[in-house]
């Protein structure tokens, strides 16, 4: 398996999903070698053998590798695209000097390479090197099938496929259309996604929503695209003592403050609710390129004493935030899956989610609205805040529902797909 991140070093849902899947597969006796650009040493390796790509030497004199490198023309390693970056990080990264294309090539083709494993300025350079590592690994290791998670690893998957002749499965956790939105699609990323899926023997999108995108926008033939919904790892409820110090009910948004997540609809819905009932507080937890614009909008709507920004939360703070919340809202404009509502439900928080999210396909006990329907969203939030029986019901049933969304089941389905591909 080729991944880009692995817990605890994750920035989003990709790492969490990869980890959950490997744990599920192990229960069905599938051995997984998991390759990451950079391993830190503190990862949970009970279910996988973690291979650190930074440790894999690439022998450029090897003929197969050379051949593959020459075919790798579709990778524009000179570009500095940073599809995941927030403006603050961008400023930081922008400050260090750029390398010339020649320098980059030299680096990539060197014996050793130190991956950052982040989503930074040298992303394309790292993607290219990762592909060479993929080819080297394919020569060194024994395996039956190749499974690559998201476009960053597709080139590595293709390389391994070409070197080993083994079938390739690509997993679509998110598409460029979700991340950037129609009309703002980065053509390089789109291209890499498309090539990966075209060359793959099987494409696994995380929802039917994503499946449709894959078929319609990328022109992938429908019969090799099979949806497997994500699941969630059961966890021990954290042993936290949180005293709710504000009297008002708390409605929470948690996610990156980017176009994809639709944070502006949450702000507008908050305004509508506060007009009716000001005994509510809204919390927006997260960071992203829309942050400043959202702050200004909140000030303009004159609700800043009821609408609070926490910045990026992680670890215990996330658990704390859920424990303080009465309703969780995910108004995503385009969400391939969306793990956070499941985490909220697991913490006894009823959720409102957009119909434009993959998770809406599997959840019964969630209120679903169109992301643009601010009135509907306000209605749903208001209902959960004021009708106790409704909220109670959602909390109880929702918790049970989430507990049944096990990676074990998803992995079983994937194992069946593997078998089909191999036969």
């Amino acid at each position: 398996m080729f991944g880009w991140e692995f817990p605890p070093h994750i920035t989003g849902g990709l790492g969490t999903a990869s980890y959950g899947l490997t744990k599920g597969l192990v229960k069905h006796d599938v051995d997984v070698i998991f390759v990451v650009p950079k391993a830190y040493g503190d990862e949970d390796q009970r279910a996988v053998r973690l291979v650190n790509a930074s440790d894999i030497p690439v022998n450029y004199k090897n003929k197969e590798i050379q051949e593959f490198w020459n075919k790798l023309t579709y990778l524009e390693i000179g570009s500095n695209i940073m599809p995941y970056i927030d403006p603050e990080e961008f400023m930081k990264l922008h400050e260090d000097g750029g390398k010339t294309l020649k320098e980059k090539e030299h680096l990539i083709l060197g014996e050793k390479y130190n991956f950052s494993g982040k989503y930074g300025k040298n992303l394309m350079e790292e993607v290219a090197r990762y592909a060479l590592v993929g080819a080297s690994i394919a020569q060194q290791y024994n395996f039956d099938i190749i499974h690559a998670h998201d476009w960053l690893t597709y080139s590595a998957g293709i390389a391994a496929q070409q070197v080993s002749g083994k079938p390739l499965v690509v997993h679509m956790h998110a598409t460029e259309y979700d991340r950037s939105g129609e009309g703002r699609v980065n053509s390089e990323v789109f291209h890499l996604e498309q090539i990966g899926m075209k060359k793959a023997d099987l494409v696994i999108p995380v929802s039917n929503l994503t499946r449709n995108t894959v078929i319609e926008k990328y022109g992938i033939s429908a019969e090799k695209v099979v949806t497997v919904h994500n699941a969630i790892e059961p966890v021990e409820q954290p042993d936290l003592k949180v005293v709710k110090a504000v009297k008002e009910k708390v409605v929470t948004f948690l996610g990156r403050l980017t176009f994809q997540k639709g944070p502006e609809y949450f702000v507008e819905a908050a305004k509508k609710i506060l007009e009716k009932d000001d005994h509510v507080r809204f919390v927006m937890a997260g960071n992203g390129d829309m942050m400043n614009q959202l702050i200004r909008r909140v000030a303009e709507l004159k609700i800043a004493d009821r609408f609070h920004f926490t910045g990026f939360l992680k670890g215990e703070d996330v658990d704390k935030m859920f424990m303080l919340s009465d309703v969780f809202v995910m108004p995503s404009v385009s969400e391939p899956f969306g793990l956070v509502p499941l985490e909220a439900m697991r913490s006894n928080v009823p959720v409102v989610i957009s119909k434009q999210s993959g998770v809406a396909e599997v959840l019964q006990h969630a209120l679903k609205v169109d992301f643009w329907d601010v009135d509907g969203m306000a209605d749903a939030i208001y209902g959960l805040l004021h009708y106790r029986s409704l909220a109670q019901n959602f909390i109880r049933e929702g918790k049970e529902e989430v507990e049944n969304l096990k990676w074990e089941h998803a992995a079983e389905k994937i194992k069946e797909l593997y078998t089909k591909v191999l036969s």
Partner: protein, 486 residues
């Protein structure tokens, strides 16, 4: 003789610590003590202490001939007391010379003059009292936060009995007129206005050490020659600046202390100018004309307006939400709440939220604890929300308390025999009765009506409009009536 009038502003806000949503309702301690202490200690060492000593030396040397004035905010005083009491002691020494005037301003270096007359006046009297307590003098000249002034503000200041006020010699207000005269309020001729000569003031405050400035290095002779170049009929040159100019904005290495050590003797030797305090200038000089300032001016930035503190969405929202609590804060007696209320009003918090393009960015960044105006806003609003919660709790407790008292005590009337009730109703003042009747339940109201004498009934009718009396009034009335019952 023509005059030079020095006024130095001394202010440090209580900067707020990182205050998160999780703190709200739990943590009522807002100040970043470490930061405030370290800023205060640094500025004391680099600026306040050496400059106070220098001024003290100058006064010793020149006696009556050298004078300056200060405005020291209440928040700065409190931080001196907390962190650097030696600074306060050295100001007291300066006060004891009698050559130093202390001006009055808002205690919290607030923008209250733009929003709430009550709050403004109460902060000014608080500050006056503090000056009297510490320096033993009555402050008679007024300066508003950041020299903010308008006709309306001037009127409030005149109402408080001040005879003179300092403000900016803003070009867009003065036009062709010179700042080097004494002016008076647009329609209150009892308030004289002293205007900052911003060119000559800023030569020291901003340009002194700038090597890109063609006039660098600035010598005392050159500077005096500029003063002398002003029209001989012009009566006063007001040099107004932040006190941190000496040693902090302009480091000791720039020679600013040496400049100030020599400059007074040059002026005195030359003989064309004397040094006077703002109060002396105002008392001895006729106002040349009225100054009309319909829209507030200040001493900040190129624009000399309010846009450093107010005007963007965030600043306006924070400002509105803050002063929405002003009425209730007038009633609040909790000492900790009152102190926090003042600290939150410091204009600096709004300054940190400024998003104007960064021509004046250098000055804005000075002492600014936040990486961006957005973070400043979020942090301030979190604190303000917690403050709101506390105020709501206090208000609710107070009104709960009152309601209970009233309900409980009515039982005394309820239990009265008819005879007693009749005599009580004959005795009680009709107006008082009208007020408390609003708070009686229906049953008791009926009972009272039943035994009310005809004459009293008629008298009661006159007070029908008192129906909406507040609980507080009812409480007081009730106390009065209780006395009667006893």
């Amino acid at each position: 003789m023509r005059s030079i009038s020095f006024y130095f502003q001394v202010h440090q806000p209580y900067r707020i610590k990182k205050y998160r949503f999780f703190n709200m309702g739990n943590d009522h301690h807002y100040s970043d003590e470490y930061l405030n202490r370290s800023v205060m200690e640094r500025v004391a060492q680099k600026s306040y202490l050496p400059m106070n000593q220098l001024l003290l030396d100058l006064i010793e040397e020149h006696g009556e001939k050298f004078k300056v004035s200060f405005s020291i905010t209440g928040l700065a005083i409190e931080q001196f007391q907390e962190y650097t009491p030696e600074v306060l002691e050295s100001f007291k020494k300066l006060a004891a010379t009698g050559n130093v005037e202390f001006l009055a301003e808002t205690y919290a270096h607030s923008l209250a003059s733009l929003k709430d007359a009550e709050e403004f006046k109460s902060q000014v009297s608080m500050h006056k009292a503090k000056m009297k307590e510490l320096f033993g003098v009555e402050a008679v000249t007024f300066r508003n936060t950041e020299l903010i002034y308008s006709d309306e503000i001037g009127e409030m200041v005149a109402d408080m009995g001040f005879k003179a006020m300092l403000t900016e010699g803003a070009k867009h207000v003065l036009g062709w007129k010179s700042p080097n005269y004494v002016y008076k309020h647009a329609y209150r001729s009892d308030l004289k206005l002293l205007l900052k000569n911003f060119r000559l003031s800023d030569d020291l405050a901003f340009r002194f050490s700038s090597q890109e400035w063609p006039e660098w290095p600035l010598t005392t002779d050159k500077y005096l020659s500029w003063l002398k170049q002003t029209d001989a009929k012009e009566e006063v040159i007001n040099l107004f600046m932040d006190y941190e100019t000496f040693g902090e904005h302009q480091w000791a290495e720039t020679g600013i202390f040496e400049f100030m050590r020599v400059f007074p003797s040059k002026v005195i030797e030359d003989g064309e100018f004397n040094f006077q305090t703002p109060n002396e200038v105002a008392a001895q000089t006729q106002a040349i004309s009225e100054l009309h300032v319909p829209y507030p001016i200040s001493w900040a930035d190129e624009e000399r307006d309010l846009t450093a503190w107010l005007g963007n969405e965030m600043q306006d929202e924070a400002f509105e939400k803050l002063y929405a609590m002003a009425d209730r804060m007038q009633e609040c007696k909790d000492p900790q709440m009152k102190i926090d209320w003042l600290k939150l009003q410091a204009s600096d918090h709004f300054y940190y939220m400024c998003t104007k393009w960064f021509a004046d960015g250098d000055v804005h960044e000075y002492f600014n604890p936040y990486p961006s105006p957005y973070e400043a806003f979020i942090n301030y609003m979190n604190v303000l929300s917690d403050f709101q919660i506390r105020l709501n709790e206090k208000t609710e407790m107070a009104s709960d308390f009152m309601l209970k008292e009233i309900v409980m005590d009515f039982s005394v009337i309820q239990k009265m025999t008819v005879a007693k009730l009749k005599s009580f109703l004959a005795e009680v003042d009709a107006k008082d009765l009208a007020i408390i009747k609003n708070f009686m339940n229906q049953e008791l109201n009926n009972k009272v009506d039943k035994y009310l004498g005809k004459r009293k009934q008629k008298a009661l009718g006159q007070y029908q409009d008192l129906k909406s009396s507040s609980q507080e009034v009812a409480q007081k009335t009730w106390q009065k009536i209780q006395g009667l019952i006893k």
